[in-house]
């Protein structure tokens, strides 16, 4: 092997980023710290319902539901490179599907009165099926064309939601039957746990956590192994992916379906939190918010989707809540900039800033900071031509 290659090797070997599939060196202290941190985080999350007021729990739940949906979108847009502006449509299918399947048969709107857990599963499958119906179209279109074609889904969806009164309840939506798992109902009935009253939000909190963790692990599993590699290959070089044996069209279709199922699950969870589904919610703004989430958080990664979802959903709530206390923000009706406006400025700007200054999104922030610190410590010594750019 040429010595040029050897030189290069020196630079890279020292501090390869250790990608997912690369050889894993022996455990370093950092490797042990991380599981500890995760454990701690898990514990804190488990305890939150005992301390946080319902407002924050609800905000957290919205964020969890959004995170599930964003993970799905990130599989599609981030990892496979298929721009979708129609995610809200699949959220709506999940939400309304659940209501229809679980709904009370005698309540004026169509309801099959199924056990809620079954309805939940069916709603997710229904969303997947809807994605499946659209996937042949998705498979044919590229880039911006696909993005705008999915926009049609939003408009079709809204049209149906407003018009199919029997199914959807029309403009004012329909109420959401509470989830019930083996006789335990996630409703507002107060249950005392350690003398803390548990109502719907507290109960749903745990459901949300479980679904989010499972959804995240599942997506991570996909991304880090065979299907994930194929998806990335399709994004980066479609022709090469095909030549390497990846059935491109089938994969694109499959990812579309999976992404829709994530959206469906997020929709069900949202419906359970709202306790009512309203059509106006599932509009273009929502779809754009999901895109903002994955860009702010980081395209193509599970962590990015989760971080972005929390950023986009929690910021407006915080700003609204503390509108009186924040500088520059004024309470409604007093003139000046309203909190709703501030949060829109903020997350609009965050999208721009994330792309321009933090490519890779919020998930990359720790790595970028660490690299910067390391560089500062090391000065600007030449570390060879092959140093991995951060």
């Amino acid at each position: 092997m040429s010595d040029l290659l050897t030189r290069v090797r020196r630079g890279a070997g020292e501090k390869g980023p250790g990608g997912p599939a690369s050889g894993r060196p022996g455990r370093t202290p950092r490797d042990l710290v991380t599981p500890g941190l995760w454990l701690l985080l898990g514990l804190v999350l488990m305890l939150l319902p005992f301390y946080l007021e319902a407002f924050w729990l609800r905000a957290g739940l919205f964020a969890m539901a959004a995170a599930i949906g964003a993970i799905g979108l990130n599989l599609l847009t981030g990892a496979t490179g298929q721009l979708s502006l129609g995610h809200a449509f699949f959220l709506a299918i999940g939400a309304y599907g659940y209501c229809v399947f679980a709904g009370d048969p005698d309540a004026g709107v169509v309801g099959f009165g199924m056990p809620p857990l079954l309805a939940m599963v069916l709603a997710v499958l229904l969303a997947g099926a809807a994605g499946g119906i659209f996937s042949p179209i998705a498979g044919r279109l590229r880039g911006a064309y696909l993005g705008i074609a999915t926009l049609a889904l939003i408009f079709i969806g809204q049209h149906v939601l407003f018009n199919a009164h029997d199914l959807t309840g029309g403009y004012n939506g329909r109420s959401v039957p509470p989830l019930d798992i083996l006789g335990f109902t996630f409703d507002n009935e107060r249950v005392m746990v350690a003398s803390v009253p548990f109502q719907a939000v507290e109960k749903l909190w745990y459901l949300g956590l479980i679904l989010l963790v499972l959804g995240a692990l599942f997506a991570r599993g996909i991304l880090r192994s065979r299907p994930g590699r194929a998806m990335n290959a399709i994004r980066d070089h479609r022709i090469a992916a095909g030549v390497m044996g990846v059935p491109v069209a089938r994969y694109r279709g499959a990812v579309f379906i999976i992404s829709s199922m994530y959206a469906g699950l997020a929709g069900v969870l949202l419906a359970l939190i709202f306790q009512r589904t309203v059509p106006s919610y599932f509009g273009l703004i929502l779809a754009l918010e999901y895109l903002a989430m994955i860009v702010i958080g980081g395209l193509g990664t599970v962590g990015g989707a989760v971080l972005g979802a929390f950023f986009v959903t929690v910021i407006p709530q915080v700003l609204t809540r503390y509108s009186e206390a924040l500088p520059l923000v004024s309470a409604p009706g007093t003139g000046g900039v309203a909190p709703g406006e501030v949060s829109r400025y903020l997350y609009g700007a965050a999208v721009v800033a994330a792309v321009l200054f933090l490519p890779g999104g919020l998930v990359r922030l720790p790595a970028v900071l660490r690299a910067r610190r390391a560089r500062r410590r090391a000065g600007t010594t030449d570390t060879g031509n092959m140093e991995v750019p951060s």
């Binding site: 092997m1 690299a371 030449d382 031509n385 092959m386 750019p389 951060s390």
Partner: protein
Amino acid sequence: MEAAILRVRGLAAGYGPVHALSSVSLEVPDGAVTAVLGGNGAGKSTLLRAVSGTLRFQGGAITGGTIEFAGERLDGRNAAQIVAAGVVQVPEGRQVFARMSVADNLRAGALGARHGRRGEQEARDRVLGLFPVLAERAHQRAGLLSGGEQQMLAMGRALMARPRLLLLDEPSLGLAPMMAARIADTVREINDQGTAVLLVEQNAALALGLASRAVVLENGTVALSGTADELAASDEVRRRYLGVGDEEAAADAEAGIRAEHDHSDGRPTLRRWVA
């Protein structure tokens, strides 16, 4: 040595944290061909990009040193100004405008130079004379040309600007022997018409055959420099870049394999995989 048209002094450049060039100095005499040799990743393309002001499109920047062209500083100017000054680069890997027609690619080549319609027409005639295939394919989309055709287009496009200094980044890459020879002829022809050429080539034999002077870049710095003949005679260059002179390997594929095997890094034999 004639007056240098391009003077690079103490040039340092990098891509963010990557340092690609450090204190590179060289001079390109007017009206002559100067070759830059070096292995993969030695910084050859970086040098050309620094001169043509296009480093920033790869996320890089000049971090030190000066570049002077015909007595004027180039560093700090933008690419368009550099083209206007008469320095034009043919980028590595051709980079034709894939979705534009061949004719429009050539028109694009004339954008930066201000020679008027007449000048453009003359330039076009010259280019089409050099590469008749471009006339045949005038309306085809450039991205659909074969590799060699794209290389011709890239050269032709650069010549449309009628440069005083032409920067060529690996023009023979992927060319059939005859085509490579033709490119070599073209370089010589252009040079004869008074255009100075800074030629980056992996194919050292080709480069040294064309050039009057050459430098060898290694690891981002100038390792050797001298006249082409001096370098061609140097053992180091012969062994590393001309692929000759290593008595054992002797530019022989089989010997290459043996050499690899004799190496102590012990590259294993690949066995057939059984599922």
